[in-house]
């Protein structure tokens, strides 16, 4: 079973992603901020990280930078409300950039695409 780490500061979204991705057959761990995410990464292995950018405390940019130093092999999907950062991130950090939307179809298909590689 593929393991996904969701990094998202909104509780309701964490719950939604966990339920929906578990339904799709993934093992899902959620983290509410960068610190929680890093300790989860040290604790257990993951096949994919889905992270928000703007979060209180250390934000997603710092998290990605740190993960890149820690676990270069894990693919990352950025999942954010900000359309405008897309160009900045695709060039250096993430394997995919999905803007948050009222439908989870795109996020699910990107996750499948990356994990099926």
């Amino acid at each position: 079973m593929k393991r996904i780490l969701i990094v998202e500061d909104e509780d309701a979204l964490c719950l939604l992603y966990k339920e929906e991705l578990t339904q799709e057959g993934y093992a899902v761990t959620t983290a509410g901020n960068a610190e929680e995410a890093l300790s989860a990464l040290k604790r257990e292995p993951f096949d994919l990280i889905v992270t928000d950018i703007r979060m209180p405390g250390r934000d997603g940019v710092e998290l990605i930078t740190e993960i890149m130093g820690l676990r270069k092999d894990i693919p990352i999907i950025i999942n954010t409300a900000y359309q405008s950062y897309k160009q900045d991130f695709m060039t250096w950090a993430a394997d995919a950039y999905v803007v948050k939307s009222s439908s989870l179809v795109e996020l699910k298909s990107k996750i499948k695409e990356i994990l099926d590689r």
Binding site: L13, L16, A81, Y82, Q83, V99, K100, L104
Partner: protein, 450 residues
């Protein structure tokens, strides 16, 4: 010994050189919040009035892209009218306010005014075979034209409009930017234009050019700031709306599948309702923020406004063991502002202070006279305080230290204070707490009940 002088009211006496009085009137008018049109007309009047240089008429062209457009022509329409106007404008002690009023009256008169003659005159500054007067602006040269009818370089339409043999072209520019052109003549007195007239006119031209350039830059800056703020706001609103929308969409999709139990259905509906309330809150806060546009300020009583805020159940309900002390000086004069917005600003600040303070701490609201003209309200907490990096960004739009903060609260407070003609100051120390000081202008004295 130190003596203080106001440079905005130098009060020139009649025995002093009239050139000084002229420059004084022009520079004072630039300090006033009059429109650029009004202020340019002050220059034209100063150039034409008896107390100024004493030209009979002044014509103004302004650049508009690569075009030079006739805009205004100031002066009497006849020798008789000239006499009365010059008498009025030569009155000792006349200032820019009287001049602006006079100009507005002059320009709003019937359509046969001089300005109607100059408005159809438009020149392209980029073409090769320029004629006078456009040459003067394009080459940034002052030109004194004599025997105009024998001069082939003058545009015939312009010559027909001005109808005199001698006139002076003064280009208006700053740095490399051509701002316009002033043309001066002595149509009624027929007095020849002398070298001292030219010197003074050139000085006025320099001042006008620089003033127009500064105004242009200022307007450009405001426009850029507005666009930047709009961009920031768009990004921010996107974020504030997209998160709840994603949640609502996801949980609604779950509701629409058949595989969902009653308990989960109810949970989803509760989450959806919560997110909708959040969206509503964003809209309400944004609307309140955008609405602040207080132009009319009224005298009002700060103490009763503050009591209304502190005793409001909404605020006291959130009071988790934090005491709010209110200590307002007796017989405090009324202050100027919009009481509703000021009340909302106090509510914002006091709620923030309470949030920053741990249970057992206290929030103090003190009020008193700063001096004869100012009343100050201090809102102080014993909370966690702010580092300088946070304090410096406090009034930036969409800056927030709270998880779900909109970053509009303190900006709102600042806008309310600006609109009231007051100001706000912040002191803060990490671990010690913060102090917000709000300065209000004193309004009229308290009524009889005080």
């Amino acid at each position: 010994m130190i003596e203080r002088f106001s440079f905005l009211a130098p009060n020139f006496q009649s025995q002093e050189p009239r050139e000084l009085a002229l420059l004084s009137i022009i520079s004072q008018s630039f300090f006033q919040p009059f429109s650029i049109e009004d202020n340019l007309l002050v220059i034209l009047t100063a150039l034409t009035s008896g107390s100024g240089v004493g030209f009979n008429r002044a014509m103004l062209f302004r650049t508009d892209g690569d075009k030079l457009r006739g805009e205004a022509w100031l002066g009497p329409r006849s020798a008789e009218e000239a006499k009365t106007i010059w008498e009025v404008l030569s009155t000792p002690g006349i200032g820019y306010i009287e001049i602006i009023e006079h100009n507005r009256w002059l320009l709003t008169r019937q359509s046969e005014s001089l300005s109607q003659i100059v408005k159809p005159l438009v020149y392209s500054l980029s073409q090769d075979n320029l004629t006078i007067p456009a040459t003067s602006a394009a080459r940034k040269e002052m030109l004194l034209v004599q025997n105009a009818r024998q001069e082939p370089l003058i545009d015939p339409k312009f010559l027909a409009a001005i109808g005199v043999e001698e006139f002076l072209c003064v280009p208006l520019y700053a740095r490399d930017e051509i701002m316009g052109l002033i043309i001066l003549d002595n149509a009624y007195t027929k007095r020849p234009i002398e070298s001292k007239d030219i010197k003074l006119a050139s000085l006025c031209g320099l001042m006008a050019g620089n003033y127009m350039y500064a105004t242009l830059l200022h307007n450009k800056m405001i426009e850029m700031e507005r666009l930047a703020a709009l961009g920031e706001m768009a990004v921010f609103i996107t974020h504030q709306l997209r998160n709840p929308l994603t949640t609502i969409g996801g949980f609604t999709d779950q509701l629409l599948t058949n595989r969902i139990g009653e308990a989960k259905k109810r949970r989803n509906l509760e989450i959806i309702r919560k997110e909708i309330r959040r969206l509503e809150d964003v809209v309400t806060k944004l609307a309140l923020f955008l609405k602040v546009d207080v132009r009319k300020t009224v005298p009002f009583d700060l103490k009763s406004t503050l009591l209304g805020v502190v005793q409001n159940p909404d605020l006291t309900m959130k009071n988790g063991g934090i005491e709010v002390y209110l200590d307002i000086e007796e017989r405090l004069p009324n202050v100027l502002g919009d009481p509703t917005y000021v009340g909302e600003a106090f509510r914002n600040l006091i709620a923030n202070a309470m949030e920053a303070t741990a249970p057992g701490g206290r929030v103090t609201v003190q009020g008193g006279r700063e001096d004869q003209n100012w009343v100050v309200i201090c809102i102080q907490d014993t909370g966690k305080g702010m580092p300088p990096s946070v304090r410096d960004k406090l009034f930036s739009p969409f800056f927030s230290t709270k998880d779900k903060g909109m970053g509009l609260g303190l900006l709102f407070v600042k806008r309310v204070m600006d609109a009231s003609g007051g100001r706000i100051e912040v002191e803060s120390e990490v671990g010690r707490g913060s102090l917000f000081r709000l300065f209000f202008r004193s309004g009229q004295e308290r009524s009889a009940e005080a």
